[in-house]
Amino acid sequence: MAKETDLTFLESFTGGNPEKMKKYMNMFIQMCPGQLTLMSDHLKNQNYDQLRAAAHSLKPQITYMGIKRGEGLVKEIEHMAAEKRDVEKLPDMLSEFSNICNMAVAELKERIV
């Protein structure tokens, strides 16, 4: 099964320093689940502006962790929430995005150990 994360950028950014890599991976592991819960809550409450904001703030971290499948998806969620367009598709998209992120978090946790 293909990996969700690609740490090429992080390796290059940290000069391959394992401690620095661990620090950033840990930050992502700590922050990501909370952000996903927040996005899910905003969607449940049909608070699309807040959903857009939460998606927007998670976007750079998704990029830095090399979660390619998640990158396009979070951008799309951000745009759809901003424009309040095709909102009926958002639950499925968010569910897919959450699955990708959860798999990414699991991969990163494995790598840290």
């Binding site: 950014f13 950033y24 930050m27 939460a54 703030s57 750079p60």
Partner: protein
């Protein structure tokens, strides 16, 4: 302001702030100060930073938090000589134009290349500061020479009028 000593990073995303701080920490001459909101940074303007990296969105800081443009306006009002570089996850040209309108030096999209771009922006600002310093020096020099020339002319006229010098130079 001829050298960069203090740099502010104002961002509510701790990972982004830490990555930029780590990236710039290779330059030991800079002291990096990190703040997670504009309100917090505005309390420390007495440090008088030369460069500020400022996030455009402050969604995590709370609904009442000032947004990037509001902070930019405050900064430009209190420390107009400080160069502000905006950071955003949005690659929309309107956002960039809006920040430039309020005096931002540059606009960087949060991506893998953002850190390298930040470094380049710092060097561009240093280059500009040096050029501005030189321009000021030449302006002062030109002004001083002008004053000196005027004084020589005034003294020459005065000497001529008082008969201390004549039209006839001594060797004719």
């Amino acid at each position: 302001m001829k050298q960069v000593k203090d740099i502010f990073i104002i961002d509510d995303d701790p990972m982004q702030s830490m990555m930029l701080q780590d990236y710039l920490s290779k330059y030991s001459t800079f002291t990096i100060h990190v703040y997670n909101s504009g309100e917090e940074a505005l309390k420390h303007l007495d440090i008088n930073p030369q460069i500020i990296f400022l996030d455009y969105n402050f969604d995590k800081a709370g609904a009442d938090a000032m947004d990037g443009v509001e902070i930019l306006k405050e900064l430009k009002q209190h420390i107009p000589l400080t160069e502000v570089v905006m950071f955003s996850g949005q690659d929309k040209i309107e956002v960039a134009v809006n920040t430039m309108k309020y005096g931002a030096f540059d606009y960087i999209v949060k991506s893998e290349s953002a850190f390298h771009r930040s470094e380049n922006v710092i060097f561009n600002i240093i280059k500009r500061m040096k050029l501005q310093g030189e321009a000021t020096m030449y302006k002062k020099l030109t002004y001083s020479l002008g004053i000196a020339l005027l004084l020589v002319i005034i003294i020459a006229i005065w000497l001529y009028k008082t008969g201390n010098i004549s039209d006839n130079p001594g060797w004719i």
